[in-house]
């Protein structure tokens, strides 16, 4: 039977085993999917990096190839999102340049884009109104009462929305 080298049994270095057994296969899979060898090699590398960043989950991987493709697919979506996000951010930043003190440095832009990605991903997981309450309060600086009035809900509900969004953001930072 064609058993993958890494199964549910723990190995002294499961990541190494995973890499050795499946890196070539994943690169091939990504090349077929993306049609671009450089991008595929890059993404394969990133996929393992992401898994490396979450090592404690490794011993539980029973279907390594499914796990790898899921992780790679998420990276592809994340990259597309990040690109769209960064472009929109920089474009709007130029448009409002005169109301700002200065244009952000590349480091500041990177930090901002990361935080915005975290928020965008988190807001996918909460109801539309909760996400709106979150942005009105934390980004626009409205008070709880003002948000409640704008969304026509109780201030209590606003709090619930805010807690829900913060929690979703925190889960994103761990993903």
């Amino acid at each position: 039977m064609d058993r993958p080298a890494v199964s549910c049994t723990a190995s002294p270095d499961p990541l190494h085993d995973l890499y050795a057994s499946h890196h070539g296969w994943l690169s091939g899979w990504l090349r077929r999917k993306l049609g671009c060898p450089e991008q595929a090699a890059d993404l394969a590398q990133d996929t393992f990096l992401r898994i490396l960043g979450a090592r404690d989950a490794l011993p539980a991987i029973c279907e390594p190839r499914a796990y790898l493709t899921t992780t790679a697919n998420r990276l592809i979506i994340d990259r597309a999102r990040r690109k769209a996000l960064e472009q929109a951010y920089l474009a709007e930043l130029s448009a409002v340049a005169d109301t700002r003190h200065s244009f952000p440095s590349p480091e500041e832009t990177l930090i901002a884009v990361q935080a915005l990605m975290q928020i965008a991903n988190a807001l996918d997981r909460v109801p539309v109104r909760a996400g709106e309450a979150f942005l009105l309060h934390y980004l626009d600086g409205m008070t709880h009462a003002e948000v409640a009035c704008r969304l026509d809900v109780s201030p209590r509900m606003v709090r619930k929305y805010l807690v829900q969004c913060l929690l979703a953001c925190d889960l994103q930072s761990a993903a």
């Binding site: 929109a88 915005l116 805010l162």
Partner: protein, 329 residues
């Protein structure tokens, strides 16, 4: 993926941070103080708080440096570029469950009879009262009593939970009644704990006479003794360390020596705002000797988990925990 960070710490941190920007200045001030204490209590709290504070700080920075609208446009663009419709439904269902849960929990954890009692506490809530005769009555979590004082007797009916009674001497007998019997005192101090099928009396000072249902002769229980009695007339005396128990009560600790786990879990459940669901029969065969914090039931559950590898404790949210025995592999 990493295992999600301790959900409880995240949820609590989120709740604190929302309170920090409350519209009410007094609430903000209080929240700031308590938040500091909460963060200092556990490194996981501090980590969860730091992650969220960083995010909120970044949002404030967008607001202050005039890039609110770029931030908003960026989030919008990202979400429009790759909509994730499948997750929306899951999120809605989860929200629905979250909205339904609190009301349902309230129904589950507070029987109607307790709401109508003369004095009652919610889960995790401790309350101390001086009665009209000067006696002091302290209620542990999820306790309820009815009071009936007349010219001849003072009667406290223990409906639920545990109480500490410090009886003032005034000539009338002081009676604590449960379905399993009644405890009669003149001036003394003791703890009474009512369970479904038995009552446990722990004497801290002086003595009382207990009339157990279905038995004609009262049993005298002295300081340093405990009596477990049931409605079938069964009663068992044992010796206890009174001062230790009283200290433990004041510090909201549960001291148990060789008690079945289900009894311990019942006490934890009374002091927890969420539900603890467990299979009574499956856990009753495990016996516990421990000192557990009743005001930090998360820690208490963790201590139990550490000591009983066979125990499987699953935390679905801070409001819902299930406990059973792990299947043998």
């Amino acid at each position: 993926m990493k295992p999600s960070p301790c959900t409880t710490a995240s949820e609590q941190a989120a709740a604190w941070i929302v309170r920090l920007s409350s519209d009410d200045a007094e609430e903000r001030r209080q929240a700031e103080q308590s938040f500091l204490a909460w963060k200092a209590a556990d490194p996981r709290h501090a980590e969860a708080a730091a992650r969220l504070e960083k995010l909120v700080g970044q949002l404030a920075a967008f607001r202050q440096d005039g890039s609110r609208s770029p931030a908003r446009q960026a989030i919008l663009a990202a979400r429009q570029s790759t909509p994730r419709p499948a997750r929306r439904l899951a999120a809605r269902l989860a929200l629905l469950a979250a909205l339904l849960l609190p009301g349902w929990l309230a129904l589950q954890t507070t029987p109607a009879s307790s709401l109508l009692a003369d004095l009652h506490t919610g889960s995790g809530e401790w309350q101390s009262t001086t009665l009209a005769d000067g006696s002091r009555l302290a209620l542990g979590g999820s306790a309820a009593v009815d009071l009936q004082f007349d010219a001849k007797t003072r009667t406290v009916t223990l409906l639920r939970g545990q109480i500490l009674v410090d009886v003032a001497h005034d000539g009338r007998p002081f009676i604590v009644a449960t379905p399993h019997g009644s405890i009669r005192a003149l001036g003394t101090r003791f703890l009474v704990n009512r369970y479904a099928d038995e009552t446990v009396l722990e004497m801290l000072e002086s003595r009382v006479a207990v009339s157990v249902v279905g038995s004609d002769r009262p049993i005298v229980v002295e300081a340093g003794q405990s009596l477990r009695f049931a409605a079938d007339g069964g009663a068992r005396l044992a010796s206890i360390d009174g001062p230790l128990l009283e200290d433990a009560w004041r510090q909201r600790q549960l001291v148990v020596r060789d008690r079945p786990l289900d009894e311990v879990l019942e006490q934890l459940a009374r002091n927890r705002s969420g539900l603890i669901r467990y299979d009574r029969e499956a856990v009753a065969s495990l016996h516990v000797s421990a000192v557990l914090p009743l005001n930090d039931t998360d820690r208490a559950l963790q201590l139990l988990a550490n000591n009983f590898p066979a125990l499987r404790i699953r935390r679905f949210s801070p409001y819902f925990v299930t406990i059973d025995r792990a299947e043998a592999h």
